[in-house]
């Protein structure tokens, strides 16, 4: 009897504990959203929505300041899109290799390495980019623009460097999540496909990958999230001038915009930086909403 009562108390306490934990998470999301909106919207009033979002001149400290973040938004969109377009196929094929093609010995070596890649702090990627990638890019830049009189030489800190760093950074996310969802596909499906006379490659691309679609999509969207939200590494390799996102231009992303100017910004300049944060936040939200929708559809299909 006593024991039962004790059990009941434990049940009750744990239940409350779990509820409190859940409430903390919800509270965090809600307060961040409210805070970003409260802090981010004043700039839209003081600068003007169109001037802010579609202006192309960023001169926050001039006598007549201009706060156009259009090039910065474009850079973030292009940079993320290109790195995902290149990084996802590489990551997916690596995952297929690890789970379906490679023999156990090789897989046992490669898998931990990829996992280690995910654990490396982003500043290390930035450092490597700074020391290896930028000098290489500068060599290339000098060759390509040897006769150009209008190109401003950036010393190799450009869009391509940033995209390459981003590709390497999203790889482990895509590989790990895709690999585990491919592993989770039932053996029966593969066996059925092989029994019907499909080759191994046909089975992989027509049976296994479609069956693991939901998990792969999760990996892709998390990859997009990482690429969009990465600041430290690309701050070190991208150059940081506000320019049109052309391959050999020095560029600035939404994230690096915040990182580099928050320190000394005052007044409207500071407000605009919060607006930049809000724009970034909205992008991330959109990506996540798309993910949730895709997952639902995938689970209905399945």
């Amino acid at each position: 009897m006593n024991n039962k009562a004790k059990n009941n108390v434990v049940e009750l306490v744990t239940e409350y504990l779990f509820t409190i934990c859940a409430v903390i998470a919800i509270f965090a999301v809600c307060s961040i959203t409210v805070y970003m909106i409260l802090k981010g919207t004043p700039a839209f009033h003081s600068v003007g929505v169109l001037d802010l979002l579609f202006g192309t001149t960023w001169k926050p400290t001039a006598a007549e300041p201009e706060f156009g973040i259009f090039f910065i938004i474009l850079t973030s969109i292009f940079g993320t899109t290109i790195s995902v377009l290149v990084g996802v196929p590489i990551g997916l094929l690596t995952a297929v290799f690890l789970t379906e093609v490679a023999n156990k010995k090789i897989a046992n070596v490669v898998q931990p390495m990829v996992e280690l890649l995910a654990a490396i702090p982003s500043v290390i990627y930035g450092l490597l980019g700074l020391m290896l990638l930028n000098p290489l890019m500068y060599q290339l830049e000098k060759k390509i623009y040897a006769d150009s009189t209008t190109h401003q030489f950036t010393g190799g800190s450009n869009m391509i460097s940033a995209v390459i760093v981003l590709i390497i950074m999203i790889l482990p996310t895509v590989v790990n999540i895709s690999a585990s969802s491919i592993k989770a596909v039932s053996k029966d499906l593969r066996a059925a496909s092989l029994a019907l006379g499909a080759s191994k490659i046909q089975t992989i691309f027509h049976v296994t990958i479609p069956a693991a679609k939901s998990g792969i999509m999760t990996g892709v969207v998390l990859g997009i999230g990482r690429a969009l939200g990465e600041a430290m590494a690309i701050n070190m390799v991208a150059g940081g001038s506000v320019n049109l996102p052309l391959p050999f231009n020095s560029v600035r992303f939404l994230t690096t915009q915040l990182v580099s100017e928050m320190g000394y910004a005052q007044g409207v300049h500071r407000e605009v930086l919060f607006a930049v944060g809000l724009v970034l936040y909205i992008f991330i939200m959109l990506v996540n909403l798309v993910l949730q929708k895709m997952r639902k559809e995938a689970s209905i299909d399945g």
């Binding site: 000098p135 030489f153 010393g155 150059g239 020095s250 100017e261 320190g263 000394y264």
Partner: protein, 298 residues
Amino acid sequence: MKNNLVKKLAVGMTALMICTSFAGCGSTDSAASDDTSSETTETTETETEESDDLSGNISLAGSTSMEKLCEALSEGFMAKYPGINVSVEYTGSSAGIESLSAGSVDIGNASRNLKDEEKTGGATENIVAIDGIALITDTENTVTNLTTEQLVSIYTGETTNWSELGGADEAIVVIGREAGSGTRGAFEELLEIEDACTYAQELDSTGAVLAKVASTPGAIGYVSLDAIDDTVTSMSLNDVAATEDTIKAGDYQLSRPFVMATMGEVTEQSELVQTWFDYINSEEGQQIVSGVGLILPE
């Protein structure tokens, strides 16, 4: 079960002991460092006793570039004189001197020499520090001296190759700081190229500028004078090298005084304001000034 509990207890106790022993270490450490500075603390003790009577407000207003200096000084000052509150507003040099003339603040901050009309208005120029900016380039570059015109044309994007300035055929990579940086503000202001610069790279710290200039052939950048090291070449401007001596002598163009102006001489000020200036001129205050990368005036 019991065994487990004992184990946990043991682990907990060891953790506690490690913690306390570390804490012990910490306190002995600070005691040791106290010993070394005991002489100074003894001498200041009498002052602090006096200063206990001092209370009130000191108000400063002016230059945004002096934010770092003022924050560091007021923090140290208020720690030493808990009764005195120092408030600083960063409104810009001219606005600061105007507030001083209007009598709304005790001290007007200006990151430039006072103009003649400001001096005739009664403001006295007290230079508390000098801000020097050095030009740096990579060590391979054969051009080590620039004229002001050449420097301006590099930073406005008119000159794009070192061969135009008598150097090797190497593109110029123009590196600067991010908008809002005090160093960038001072650099552009002193050369009168505010917001006319075309930067190839805008970096957000002195260290990043140094590293990029050191590793990029043909790069040029600017940093605070105290940040220079062997990895880069310090360029001279109009044949004047950037050193503390040339800056103090006023020969080097890329420097500016940090002025804390008062109405009339410092000796005519209230006790509070005099205490403030005494603090700046004390060893502790001078250390703070050089700590934020500024040069001490003679």
